[in-house]
Symmetry: C2
Subunit: 353 residues, 2 copies
Amino acid sequence: MKPPRPNLSELARHLGVSIATVSNALSGKGRLSPELAKRIRDAADRMGYVPSQAGRALRTGRSGVLGLVLPDIGNPLYPEIAQEIERVATNAGYGVLIANSRDEIAAQDKAIFQLIERGVDGIVIVPRRGTTVPATACPIAIIDTPTTPRNTVSADHFEGGAQVARHLRALGHEKILLIGDDPSSNVQNARINGMRSQLHEAKEIETIWIVEIEAKGGKSCPLGLAAWRARGFSAFACVSDPHALRALTELQSAGIAIPAEATVTGFDNLQWSSFISPPLTTVKMNMPEIATLALDALVEAIQSREASDDTPSPPVTARKAAVPMELVIRRSSGPAPKEQPAAGISQEESKHA
Amino acid sequence: MKPPRPNLSELARHLGVSIATVSNALSGKGRLSPELAKRIRDAADRMGYVPSQAGRALRTGRSGVLGLVLPDIGNPLYPEIAQEIERVATNAGYGVLIANSRDEIAAQDKAIFQLIERGVDGIVIVPRRGTTVPATACPIAIIDTPTTPRNTVSADHFEGGAQVARHLRALGHEKILLIGDDPSSNVQNARINGMRSQLHEAKEIETIWIVEIEAKGGKSCPLGLAAWRARGFSAFACVSDPHALRALTELQSAGIAIPAEATVTGFDNLQWSSFISPPLTTVKMNMPEIATLALDALVEAIQSREASDDTPSPPVTARKAAVPMELVIRRSSGPAPKEQPAAGISQEESKHA
DNA sequence: TAGCGTTGATTAAACGTTTAATCACACCTG
DNA sequence: CAGGTGTGATTAAACGTTTAATCAACGCTA
């Protein structure tokens, strides 16, 4: 009842062989007879041997752990990223250490440093908007936007925006309001630029930023969308599902029917977007592929670093930098209403099922 | 330009002292003159010394890493938990390794095992509904519900439910629909039981489970809430914000005004719940305190385990098992409508601002 | 039969840290 | 001045693994 956790020497002693032989048998590296190898492997899992990561890490210089830096774990956008990174990493034999940069400019660098201190073999970073990732001694993959200077791989936010815009044009919308949250976000700008790229012939395109509105109206204040509707804007294209949700409920509770009287679209296909009423038209990232590309590149860099020096090097590059997004058409988007409502229309009028 | 990562012996050689002295100076453990200690510390961070976790872990037997097992990282409920655990753990000098049990019954055990394999010092588990956590060789904290047998600490979901119910009663609601997702969830049952505990004198209380409705109607199908409204149910109390969102939008798009004609409440105070229209009345967990309690207990267990044996022991117990929840009253809840609408009412009628 | 290549196993060093044990030395005390 | 007490530093072992180097034994060939 002494050793609930045998180690290599325990095993070796018990079997009457050397430590190296046991190590070789379990890793399949050295030369040894097949029958002895099998005998050792059997004994190993009979005795419940589990290798010490610490010992291995010390010897090999690699910990088998990757770091994941997220701007704000609480933000509903990132869990899906975390989920996929974790899945792919686990498949590749890596553990994932999380770090939260809490959306603060300094916290990101500190988080990265702490991960390195913990001995991670590589880091995946979803950068806080507008920050630059410091050069580090271990390989780094950056997931931001395809046009961000040192980006490794990301969704093609621009093309995703273009898809939304084409969808809205096909539905006949002429006056479209683009709703962003923060103009300093690379991702949001890419999406908005993508939308604008397809809307040159539209009658009127405007962009509003929620942080600017909230700076005046206070946190969670109304966005005044009913007024935009009254001015004839029939489509409200948001840079993320939570904002679409905000728009959708604000319009609904102002008595404007979706999609009959106004169209609302989002981005990211968050879990609840499919079961609200009406279900939200949105754009989905191919996170499994993004995660796979990022981690493939990262793992390759880690392995090639093998016996090399470890001077800071630029972020790794993936086989493909931009992964297409997928437009998910649901019922929150519909044909532009025929009649242009007169300006100053009351919220109470014009109601259909 | 050779050594971007000096180690203790490098430092020692450079300073002309022994390795042990350097170690002592940096840890403040042994006996040495203050001025030498300072000289060593200065040199250490001038040369950019960063200790090897691997070496330390091997020697001390502790990795400084905790594992966090979540049922489904993609679920919007868990990120906040992850965020707070990460925060508290970082403050306590621990790293957090995440593991996803993907809501599968087997994956949870595998995830736990993998964490142990990676050498974590302790594990925080938010158990998948209805599973039992296996006994392990390292300390474990379980966050589920206060009444779950081996629970360490959690929000007082029952009392939270009671608060919602008292709020609804105070508003005059007599016919209340409780909306759950999955009856096998401990948390959801606790919340529902808590609500029921305060509703004995109410006229009519019913509970519906979304998984059962979807089993018939398909994923994301309507819940048929307008019909319940027509039967006179004026309050729809959901076990989580996403379900409340589903209910709220379903009612709104059926032309039922919130809160004038129906009240909707949720749980968990997710980020978007404050800025939808109307803002959602919900109940908030005190995650910072829960995380603190769980980690305090865990860290204490880790330290007391010091030189002790490492036979499996039951989950750690916290100073306080149930942390009160906080009712957040917003505009989605309002007084019960005066007139009881006649049965079979059409969705089109009875509309106010 | 001496020499050689191959096979199957062992020896020993190394990774970087912590820490108990030791040591040299100076200072006090009886 | 012998013996005891601190002080400030060093020595050396240990954690568990990987792996290059070594070695014994054996079957071949020359």
